[in-house]
């Protein structure tokens, strides 16, 4: 397979293959944290960091430990454990040494452990046979793409809250899902520009 340049991959993961808007992964925190721009930004930044580092980390674990031992079929369970442990470790470190960062970002970290987008990125990285640098680029790109999506939605939701009266049945997650669908359609226009697999 032709190797995609890491920068191309980064771009692709943000725009053409946005993990939220094309794969619809990581929806739960997306729906619950998109009420305001501030919390969306914190959550987004946390996702960027965790996704980039765990995808790269899982790449190492997969190719340096699991493949040589012939244990690829265990990757699901190993990836989940690695992500959970990593997130907890980062949370502890940030809480101890960077209190200001902890208050703005750290409170979101435990929420991410169970974010399926994080796990999804690690699995895509294996299926698409990315090397280490590509994995890092893909993880970072997917994170930035996720952050872009949640920031957009939170801005729209804030506007919506101020300016319009919705029917009761459409409030909250319902209208968010509809807008997300429309946004996904818009992003569909980018697809096909770059083939990532």
């Amino acid at each position: 397979m032709e190797q995609i340049h890491p920068l191309t991959l980064l771009f692709a993961a943000i725009f053409t293959n946005n993990i939220l808007l094309t794969n619809f992964l990581g929806l739960c925190p997306f729906l619950s944290m998109s009420k305001g721009k501030k919390s969306a930004l914190g959550m987004g930044a946390a996702v960027v960091f965790v996704m980039a580092s765990t995808t790269a980390l899982n790449n190492l674990v997969h190719y340096k430990i699991l493949i040589p031992l012939g244990l690829e079929h265990f990757r699901y369970i190993v990836f989940i454990v690695v992500i959970a442990a990593f997130v907890q470790l980062v949370e502890m470190t940030v809480e101890r040494f960077f209190p200001p960062l902890y208050y703005s970002l750290g409170v979101f970290l435990p929420l991410i452990t169970v974010n399926c987008a994080i796990f999804g990125a690690s699995l895509f990285m294996i299926i698409r046979e990315y090397n280490f640098v590509q994995s890092l680029a893909y993880g970072a790109g997917s994170g930035i793409g996720w952050m872009l999506a949640i920031l957009t939605i939170s801005a729209i939701r804030e506007k919506l809250q101020k300016s319009s009266k919705l029917p009761r049945g459409l409030e909250g997650p319902a209208i968010t899902l509809i807008i997300t669908g429309l946004l996904a359609l818009a992003f569909l226009a980018f697809s096909g520009m770059i083939r990532v697999q």
Partner: protein, 367 residues
């Protein structure tokens, strides 16, 4: 076969390695050393850092009220943190008003002790003590409610409380819990018996504490309680009294009624007691008896789900309907309400509509 064994060993190895890493991080990174807590500018305490303020204070024998046991849902554990609390957390903001934010009020269960802090604790919290009690008697009041009689073993002087207040009961670690759990229960006995505590415990499906108290607790067992807490208690005045209780919300009301009885207080009193069915009513005989013994007391039970064709001759419906239909517009009455939050809210609204001043309505929401 060897593949399988290698697989198990490697997975277990990775798991163990990560667990070890986290354990090491826990001891080295999350080690905050000793922190100094300055309380009311009067005394300094040294505590081990890293734990929520509420629990650090409890270890030092200072018990801040908390009904949810540190889960951040009851918002009873508010205290002023003047220094060292850090910025307000997203888990606190829903419970703090603008005024409270200005006054540096925080939820002590949510903020951790990471450095030296200066805090303000109301003097009355220092009166809160921990008691060792022995379970004297467990009684089935209905199939969903048990009555617990507890006898205070230490301190010997017993507990002092106002009728209507509550204690926190500690349930030890057992099958359903990872650590001791605390929940609030109101005393049903009057304060004239300082060595006794009587509680009504309703069964909550899948509730950790109520399951323990219903299915595991044995007579003769020793447990710990802390108290007394709460702003819901009997106030002296010459006005008539209306009491409204549903379910186990009867407990503090019972305490007040028994107090009124033993102190021979001559105030016209009415009690609305709502349950679902006839078999859910408890203390029925005692309340009926109080109608004879008290100077001017009326007891009106009301059932919300009693079948149409049963032999029940009393009222049917909800307590809110009783307020609508039987309470006249008036201002010269004190009201005590205790039960579920929804019930209390809807009663409050109706009572205020009847012209009763808000300051004369006292309530305790059970969650």
């Amino acid at each position: 076969m060897s593949q399988l064994i290698i697989g198990i060993i490697v997975i277990a190895g990775i798991g163990a390695l990560l667990a070890l890493l986290l354990e090491l991080a826990g001891t080295f990174i999350a080690d905050y050393g000793l922190c100094r807590l300055n309380i009311n500018n009067k005394k300094d305490l040294e505590v081990e850092g890293g734990n929520p303020l509420l629990f650090s204070l409890a270890e030092q024998g200072i018990f801040i009220p908390s009904a949810c046991g540190g889960k951040g849902t009851c918002a009873y554990c508010k205290i002023k943190v003047q220094e060292g609390g850090g910025p307000v957390l997203p888990t606190e903001t829903p419970y703090l008003s603008t005024q409270e934010l200005e006054d540096n009020v925080r939820l002590s269960c949510q903020i951790k002790v990471r450095n030296d802090m200066a805090i303000e604790i109301p003097e009355e919290f220092f009166l809160i003590q921990e008691f060792t009690v022995r379970v004297k008697n467990i009684k089935n009041l209905t199939h969903q409610v048990k009555g617990l009689s507890l006898e205070i073993l230490s301190p010997k002087e017993g507990i002092s409380f106002k009728p209507g207040q509550y204690i926190q009961l500690e349930v030890p670690k057992f099958k359903l819990s990872k650590e001791p759990e605390f929940r609030a229960f109101s005393m049903a006995n009057p304060p004239q018996e300082p060595l006794n505590i009587e509680l009504f415990v309703g069964r909550v499906s899948k509730g950790i504490v109520s399951t323990y108290l219903h299915d595991y607790l044995k007579e003769g067992e020793d447990i710990k309680v802390r108290g007394s807490f709460g702003e819901f208690f009997y106030r002296d005045s010459n006005r008539d009294i209306l009491m409204i209780a549903t379910g186990t919300g009867l407990a503090p009301i019972m305490s007040i009624l028994r107090y009124i009885h033993s102190e021979n207080i001559q105030r016209k009193t009415t009690l609305f007691f709502g349950t679902r069915r006839k078999e859910d009513l408890f203390c029925f005989d005692e309340l009926k008896g109080l109608e004879k013994h008290l100077n001017d007391f009326k007891f009106i039970p009301i059932l919300s789900r009693e079948p149409e064709d049963s032999s029940w001759e009393g009222k049917r419906g909800r307590v809110t309907a009783l307020i609508e239909n039987t309470i006249k517009e008036r201002a010269d009455i004190d009201v005590y309400i205790c039960g579920s939050a929804d019930m209390v809210e809807s009663c409050l609204e109706r009572l205020i509509n009847k012209g009763i001043p808000e300051g004369q309505i006292y309530y305790d929401k059970f969650t």
